[in-house]
Each structure stands twice: as C-alpha cells, then as structure tokens.
C-alpha cells in the first residue's frame, strides 16, 4: 500500500483546505477512500447513532499535480483510511501560502498520513513542516460498509435558496424546537417550519428552481406512477441541530445546492462546486 501526492497550486491548496474545513465542521471521524481517480470522504453512521451519511467526492486530477497510488492489490487498487478531518484542517492551517504540499502514506509510530508543507519564507531557505496525522487502515473485509449510499426515489427535487439566508432562519428556529419540518413542492416553493405547543413558525421561500431530474437524482416520476400534483408539498421532519450544523459548516460556496426529499425517509442535500460534490443524507425523524 503506497500513496503519495503533491499539490502545488495555491488555488488548489486553498480550495482543498476549504473542503476539508467544511468536512471537519460536519464530522469528527470519517473514512478517506483513495482510488486512482478520486478522493472520497465518507461517513456512514449507523441508524442508532443518527443515521447521517456523507459522501464527498474529489476528483484527484483537480487538485494533485503528482499522484501515485498503489492499493491493496492489483484488482482492488484502493486504500481506505479512517481519520479525523479536524487533524487535516490543523495541518493545513499554515499551508495557505505554501509553495507545495506533499501528502504521503507513511508508517511511523503508527500508520500516518504525512503532510509535508513547504512554508513561505522571506529568506532563500526552504522551511518545511511535517505533520504526521494518525490514521487507521480499514481492512478489506470492511470496505463494503463504505459504499456509496443508495439514492432512494425522491418525491421533490428543489434548488435551495442561499445557504446563508437559510442559516439565519434555522439558527433562530433552533431556539424553539429540536426539529424542523422541511417541505417543498415541484412548483418552486419551500417551507421551513417549527411547531411547539406555544407557537408555530414557518418561513416560506418562493420562485425556486426545480431542476430536471437526471440520472443521479431519480424522481418519483416513473412511467407507471401517476403524475403527482406539483403543488403537493413533500414534508420531512429533521433534526434541527444537524441541519444548522450543516448550514454553518459551509466554507465552500457551492454553485448549486439541491435538496431532495423522500417523504418519511430521508432528506438529501447535494452540493456541487466545480467537480467536487458533497452529498449529505439526513434521516427523517418521525414525530
């Protein structure tokens, strides 16, 4: 098992840092899957511990100038590592003006993902800092636990309003209740609602776009099902804290954020920024 990569472009370093930063705000420990073409950050929580799934996909060619991978075997040319994204963020903290970052899989006191950062100096000397981030190598028999989550049939697909606006709304609602009801229809309307014994607050968004469903986001409009009413709202009750955390942690400004709702099952947020995509599956909580 070998891996080494080098990021030399300052823009790539900063973009990479922001993505890792977003992830570290969302999760404490995740799995990094390294394949010849992509880096994946994966979280798959068991249902008992919340059931959140995160699937973040980074095409390596987008970031790395050098990339060498030797996986477990010829036919399974991949590496699965468990690590804390927070540690990556810390390692990247001083890398914002670095000339390059080398990332290597090493065996030191324990298996490590070593970040070697060439720091900028005023003098002609090169100054490198080395961070050895402990990782756990995941044996092949457990790989199947970290497959891309199955995307269910969604009832509604809608492009979200600006996350910053949503964040402000949700942060206020957070004080009222532990759950928020997120609902949307195929007519470009979206609604956030909290209900308590005392009060019911809802915020409505209009004139949003309902993207046409493509292969990645299958819709409920299969040929045999009757065409649903576009004004019909699909509701999902979700944990407001998790939702707020998701909105707060955003450091990349995604070009597109799509929200898919599968009634009584799951809410799926799909963030797209250049080639990087992040999928966040939040299970619906029954009332």
């Amino acid at each position: 098992m070998r891996f080494r990569g080098k990021i030399a472009d300052i823009g790539c370093i900063q973009h990479f840092t922001r993505i890792i930063g977003t992830l570290s705000k969302l999760i404490k420990v995740c799995v990094l899957r390294i394949t010849p073409s992509n880096w994946y950050f994966i979280l798959s929580e068991k249902l008992v511990s919340g059931g959140v799934h995160i699937w973040c996909e980074l095409p390596q060619g987008h970031f790395f100038d050098e990339y060498a991978l030797e996986g477990v075997s010829e036919e399974a040319n991949e590496i699965f590592l468990e690590l804390a994204p927070e540690n990556l963020t810390r390692a990247l903290k001083t890398a914002q003006n670095a000339k390059w970052i080398k990332i290597k899989l090493t065996k030191k006191h324990s298996p490590c993902l070593t970040f070697e950062v060439d720091l900028p100096t005023l003098s002609s000397h090169s100054r490198t800092v080395v961070h050895d981030i402990p990782v756990t190598v995941i044996p092949r028999r457990h790989w199947e636990d970290y497959e891309e989550p199955e995307v269910p049939q969604f009832d509604v697909t809608i492009a979200m309003p600006q996350l910053k606006i949503l964040k402000n709304v949700v942060d206020k609602m957070k004080n009222l209740s532990n759950y928020v009801i997120l609902s949307a229809n195929q007519n470009g309307e979206m609604k956030l609602m909290v209900e308590t014994d005392m009060v019911s607050v809802s915020t409505h968004f209009r004139d949003l776009v309902n993207p046409v469903n493509k292969d990645r986001v299958p819709s409920s409009q299969s040929s045999d099902a009757p065409e649903p009413d576009p004004h019909q709202f699909a509701e999902a009750r979700i944990d407001i804290r998790k939702f707020a955390q998701f909105l707060t942690g955003q450091q990349v400004n995604p070009t597109k954020v799509i929200c898919n709702i599968a009634k009584k099952k799951v809410v799926h947020f799909f963030l797209l920024h250049d080639d990087v995509s992040l999928q966040y599956f939040m299970p619906v909580v029954s009332s």
């Binding site: 390692a91 903290k93 720091l119 100054r127 490198t128 080395v130 050895d132 981030i133 402990p134």
Partner: protein, 466 residues
C-alpha cells in the same frame, strides 16, 4: 516610588504587562536604583519572567529610597498586585497607544495603593488605584553566561514556527545540532501517542542571527509561556536570545534593548527521565546548602516538603484567601506533568513522603538554596504573607483539604495526602537545584527508609484527626 513613562514607551510597557499576564497571576513590582523591575512566576512555578526598565526608559524616575540611607537597607518597598487589575490599565493597547501621552506610576504608601495615572489627549486623566500587598523580592536564580547553546533569532522566525503547532499543544521540544534546529510537538504517553498528530519543523541554522550549538540536545518546555514571550518580542521587533543547556536545565529567553529595558524569561524544561538528573546535581546542591545561608524561617521547612506537596503548599501559604482556585490549578499542572502514574504504589508514595523530611533537615542548615525542589528557594513564596497585614490565613475551609497541614508551621513534615506525586518538571531554575528521586533515594537510604514509611502513615492519621 514615582516614575513617568513617556508616550513613546507606553506601548512597550503595556505589552510587557500583557506578556507577564500570560505567564503569572501576580505582578511583583520592585523599584531599584538601576530601574523598575516587574516580575512574575507562573502557577506551577515552571516559568519566570522579569522585566527591568532602566531609568532612561522613563521621563522621570525616582525609586523612592531615601538618598542618605545605606544601600543595603531593606526599606525599599516591594509589592505585588494581581496582574488582572494591572491589565485593566492597559486593556486595549491599541487605544492606549493612540490616546495616552504619558503614564505616571506612583506608590502611595499611606493609602497602600499603587497609582497609575494615564494622561490622555484632550486633558483627560485616567487614574487607577490598585491595592497592593507588600512582599519579598521575587528572584529566580539562573545564569545566562555559561550556556553552551545560544540562539539569536528574529521573533518573526519563531512566531512563524510556533504557529504550526496546534493551539492546544502544551509543550514543544527543541532539538538542536550544529546542522539543524528542529521544533517538535512534545507528545506525552497519554493519550496514546499513536492517536496524536506529530508535527516537526526544521530550521536551517542560517536562518538564525546567531547559532552556537555547543552540545547537541533535546529540550522540552511549555508552549504557552513561549508564545507569550514571542508575542512581546514581536511587538518590540528586537532579536530574541535563547540560551540553554540540556534537558532538565532551564532555558533563558532574553531581549536586551540597549539601556532602555531588559527582559528575561526563564522556562523550566522537562527532565528526560526521573532518575537521571539526580546524581550530578546532588553534590552541587549539597555544597550549596552548606556554603550558603544566612537567615532561617520557620516556614522554610514546610516549603521543603516533598516536591509533590511543596507546590500546593506554596500556594496556600501565599495566596490562600484570595485565590483558592489556584490550588486546584496548580494541582492540575502537577497531574499533567506527573510521570509516575503507572508505577506509583505504596512504597513509592512512602519514598516521596520521605523526601521532605530529609530535605527539611538540610534546609535548616542552609537556606538560600534549599536542595529540594527549586521552587522552594523562591524567596517570596514562604514569606510574602508575613510582612503583609492584609492577608492572613482566614479562609482555610475554602481551600482544598490538603491545606490544613500547610497552614500550620509546626507539623512541617506532615505529608499532604491527595497531592500529586513527583513532577517531571523538577529541574526548576530557582536555586539551580535539580534534586530528584535519586537524591531522595540516597538520603532515604541513609536515614533508613522503613522508618519513614512509618512516619507517612502516622502523619496521615494525624491529619485526618485535624
């Protein structure tokens, strides 16, 4: 004492207070003929800072000693104040720098107040009257001249280095050889070192203004205080001199601004292993104790109790009625440094408890540099509550239980249960003593260890009866 700081120097003075506040909780002020000394020591007594502002730093300087009296008289007033109260005077430095035209500091003995008067723009005068406590001189014993390893660096270089370490990192190791200078984060045995990020940064000796490495070594010291020093150094933009020997010996950081002021910071370094430092230092400390010494305080003895107890006792002695929490914090520090966790069993505790006895005996013969933990030779620690009418031990109940014994001068040798065992940071700078378990073992052997174990049990019982 009366002095006036001109506007241009207020920035440095204020930043000095900020640096001191990041190290200790009390500010010791001593007007001397050759300048105003500001000193502090941190709660675990592993870091000491001293600023000496020479008379040329001030627009006007009067140290307040009567001109006729002999120089040796102890009449000069030395005082200490809570650093937090002093910090409020210079709270917003950007504001102070902009508006204050001069700052007058006077010691009002009649009213027992230290008065800071800030003369601001537009004729505004801000006066801060700070209550102080009279105390003895705080003086660390260290030497800068004999160190085989000396580095001089621009603060920028070290700041850029330190920023690479995580903010919650406690200690940093400095590994030097003539070829390269390496900073590493120090990873303790707990939590599991394989679960912790290891960070290392290499610097080329050419990056330093001066790099003299006489002995290849590896020293570990606290990052928090180091950061405070660097923050100050960066403001003054003056090169920082770093002098050190080997692990277990103090590292001295100094800034020397030609004639205007001088700043020295002494940080304890981690002893490599608990038995290693003892043998060599044993002899020297013994000699020291024999050759020095002038006055003896009854309280000295209780300071010389085992390292483990010493610390919390010091605290209670000097601070009981004001900062009961500090006791706790110092204990925490002990826990952090404690390297005996896994091996400590009853016999070891007994050994630890026997240390104080022997040390106490020694210290009755010689005073200035008691052989035990160096922090005991910190002059103030035992005595600063006696000249002061302000603090009397009144709030015993508020402090941890261990304290009861400490307040009683008579039962000096009573071990304090519940206090942490020996510290790794044993080689403090004060008194140059590196007494360690080796010393204790040796002395213990001389005196017969079994009896001491007995003593431990008895004393503990006595205390419980209290």
């Amino acid at each position: 004492m009366k002095c006036v700081i001109p506007g241009v120097n207020i920035k440095v003075f204020g930043r000095a207070i900020h640096a001191l506040s990041k190290i200790g909780e009390e500010l010791y002020i001593e007007p001397l003929a050759h300048g105003l000394a500001l000193r502090t020591v941190n709660s675990s007594r592993s870091a000491y800072a001293c600023f000496l502002f020479s008379p040329t730093f001030f627009q006007h300087y009067d140290d307040g000693t009567p001109p006729i009296s002999d120089q040796d008289s102890d009449d000069a007033i030395r005082c200490k104040i809570a650093i937090k109260s002093c910090l409020t005077v210079f709270k917003s430095m950007s504001n102070v720098e902009k508006t204050v035209e001069k700052c007058q500091i006077t010691l009002n003995v009649q009213k027992a107040r230290l008065v800071f008067k800030l003369y601001c723009k537009h004729g505004i005068v801000k006066t801060h009257n700070l209550a102080f406590i009279e105390c003895e001189t705080l003086q660390a014993v260290f030497s800068k001249d004999m160190c085989p390893n000396q580095l001089t660096a621009q603060p920028r270089l070290l700041c850029d280095t330190v920023i690479n370490f995580q903010s919650n990192q406690e200690e940093v190791s400095l590994i030097v050889s003539p070829e390269k200078i390496t900073f590493k984060n120090y990873v303790d045995d707990e939590p599991d070192p394989s679960k912790v990020v290891h960070t290392a940064l290499n610097l080329d000796p050419d990056e330093f203004d001066n790099c003299q490495i006489g002995v290849d070594t590896d020293i570990t010291f606290c990052l928090k205080e180091f950061r405070a020093v660097l923050a100050f150094a960066e403001i003054t933009a003056m090169p920082l001199n770093i002098k050190f020997e080997t692990s277990g010996r103090p590292i001295v950081l100094s800034i020397d601004a030609d004639s205007a002021f001088e700043a020295n910071f002494v940080l304890a370094t981690l002893a490599e292993s608990h038995s290693q430092t003892g043998n060599s230092s044993n002899a020297t400390t013994q000699q020291r104790t024999a050759s020095t010494g002038s006055r003896s305080y009854a309280s000295r003895g209780r300071l010389n109790r085992g390292r483990s107890q010493n610390q919390s006792n010091n605290y209670t002695n000097s601070n009981h009625n004001r900062f009961p929490d500090r006791n706790k914090s110092s204990n925490d520090a002990d826990l952090m440094d404690d390297d005996f966790d896994d091996e400590i069993l009853v016999p070891n505790i007994a050994r630890a408890a026997s240390v104080p006895e022997t040390n106490t005996k020694q210290s009755h013969t010689g005073k200035a540099f008691p052989p035990c933990s160096s922090r005991s030779s910190l002059n103030t620690s035992s005595q600063d509550d006696r000249p002061s009418p302000v603090i009397q031990p009144t709030l015993h109940q508020s402090v941890l239980e261990d304290v009861h014994a400490a307040d009683d001068d008579e039962d000096e040798d009573m071990p304090v249960p519940g206090t942490p065992p020996q510290k790794k940071f044993r080689s403090m700078f004060f008194g140059m003593s590196q007494a360690s378990s080796a010393v204790s073992q040796e002395t213990q052997d001389q005196n017969g260890s079994r009896s001491h174990r007995q003593v431990l049990v008895e004393d503990t019982d006595e205390e419980e009866e209290d």
